[in-house]
Amino acid sequence: MTHANPAGPSDTADPGGAPHSGGAAPAGRRRRSATLVTGCVLAGTIVAVAVISLFWVPFSPEDTSGGRLAPPGPPHLLGTDKLGRDLLTQLMIGARVALTAGLGSVALGGLLGVVAGLLAGFATRWLDDTISALLDILIAFPTLLLAMLVVAAREASLGSAILAIGLAMSAIVARLTRVLVKRVLAQDFITASRTSGTSWPRVVAEHVLPNIWPTLLVNLALQLGLAVLAEASLSYLGLGAPPPNASWGRMLQEAQATVLTAPLGAIAPGVLLVVLVVGVNLVADGLRDVADPTRRRTR
């Protein structure tokens, strides 16, 4: 604790002083925006691949003309799998499936979770208790078991996976939202706003939502990474999207038997999965600082 503040002169909270402008951006801030940029590049690469796969893939996903386990090289840039399908094609479609599953379950889980959480946050006594108990049960329930139930009730498909992951996620999001709402509602500025005659709907729109939004957004971004992993796990177990929809999870499972003879088949989907999840998590981390002005300025 001997060396001086590296960020330069008077970088602490400055009561009354002028807000920091661009000139002396603290080093910490630059590092955090680097986090956001790195995350965006990593996740953006996967998104780009997924978008391209909508219009163009090197081979048809069902084309098995390449021969079993062909090594990398033209025309199959990354080789083929044990059924003779082009690996690059599978990976590209897998990116699309992973993103669809991730975004779909975040949309479902986020919507359900935020609505339930807002309700529980505003509720007092029995309604709050009921919702909280339901959420606790849902959180205690293993996601995998929930997924199996959904798959048993419907069929193994991308939709079932999204439904299962989204439901499990909604409980976590709802519990977070509930706590955030309760905390904001207990603050003076809500009372202050109400002493001036602001109606409840306005209080929610003007003060509650903006104050819970930064935390919620970061959490949803983290949940996106977890959802991508969950979908891969479900596909690995055969509970995800059925062929010909390639999923990275299922590709891993299929390549398992031939990992010594054709390692790329197992390595490639694994690496892409890591790239996407790490990218999304970095974006979440970077967003935390962008979304919250008190963190943005005072550090």
């Binding site: 807000p19 500025f189 202050a192 109400r194 002493t195 005659g197 003007e206 903006p210």
Partner: protein
């Protein structure tokens, strides 16, 4: 007719303890009343009960009637939320003790102020922006343009409290309730904010209900005081009378400690 008529106001906590018991007082338009007592004596709760905003679980009985010019005379205790929202702001509003928590940390100061100006005066666009600056100038903030663009944590405590006062004034209330508005401020800033509040209340002909634990501060801005102890009004009257001839033992304590502080200050100056 009185602007505010509080009679036998009682607030009970969820477990039935009386936090405020049987407090009665009236305020005429433009009157000033100090509500004095130590922390936990029910001062703030009395103010919240007048606004119909006691925390969930507490029950209010008795009566608090607000009769502001231009508004329908209304009983606050037991009124519906819709009815109360019509009263809050226009009939009465509150300036709180800690301006940092009383302002939304994620909203720029100007926007928070604009919210009230828009609702009360129906201003939009450029006229609204101009009104925000005028309102900030009115509470004698230098550089109102910078402050309007700042977040609450970017301005000083005294400036924040001035902003909070500007927000309360934007509602054009008939009664301003100031709940320890200077307690969280430095002593030098305290005097400035007190003088500002004093001037603005006079200029606008508002009534002022000033809540404090500090007899010296209360006597600087109000002419009558009501002394609360453990939720009971133990003494009331003109400030001069209370200071010179306190009747209740608790009031005597209050006056005594204020005098001791005064003489200590006098002695140190010599």
């Amino acid at each position: 007719m009185s602007l505010l008529d509080v009679s036998e106001l009682t607030v009970r906590s969820a477990d039935g303890r009386a936090l405020v018991s049987g407090v009665s007082f009236t305020m005429e338009p433009g009157a000033r009343l100090g509500l004095i007592g130590e922390s936990g004596s029910g001062k703030s709760l009395t103010a919240l009960a007048i606004m119909g905003l006691v925390p969930a679980g507490m029950t209010v009985s008795g009566s608090a009637v607000l009769d502001a010019p231009g508004l329908v005379r209304a009983e606050v205790v037991g009124a519906t939320e819709r009815r109360l929202n019509g009263l809050r702001g226009r009939a009465a509003t509150v300036v709180f003790q800690e301006p940092l928590t009383a302002l939304d940390p994620l909203m720029r100061v100007g926007r928070q102020l604009a919210e009230y100006l828009r609702r009360v005066r129906g201003l939009r666009g450029a006229a609204l922006r101009k009104a925000v600056i005028t309102a900030l100038e009115e509470v004698r903030l230098t550089d109102p343009r910078r402050i309007a663009k700042a977040f609450p944590h970017e301005v000083s405590g005294g400036q924040r409290q001035r902003v909070a006062i500007a927000m309360a004034l934007a509602c054009e209330p008939a009664l301003l309730i100031a709940d320890e508005p200077t307690t969280a401020l430095d002593v030098t800033v305290q005097a400035e904010v007190l003088a500002l509040l004093d001037g603005l209340v006079s200029a606008r002909g508002m009534a002022l209900l000033f809540i404090s634990h500090d007899l010296a501060v209360v006597s600087a801005v109000t002419d009558h005081v009501l002394v609360l102890k453990d939720g009971v009004a133990v003494e009331s009257g003109r400030v001069l009378d209370i200071v010179n001839t306190p009747r209740h033992p608790y009031t005597r304590d209050l006056v005594g400690s204020a005098r001791r502080l005064d003489s200590a200050l006098d002695w140190s100056q010599r």
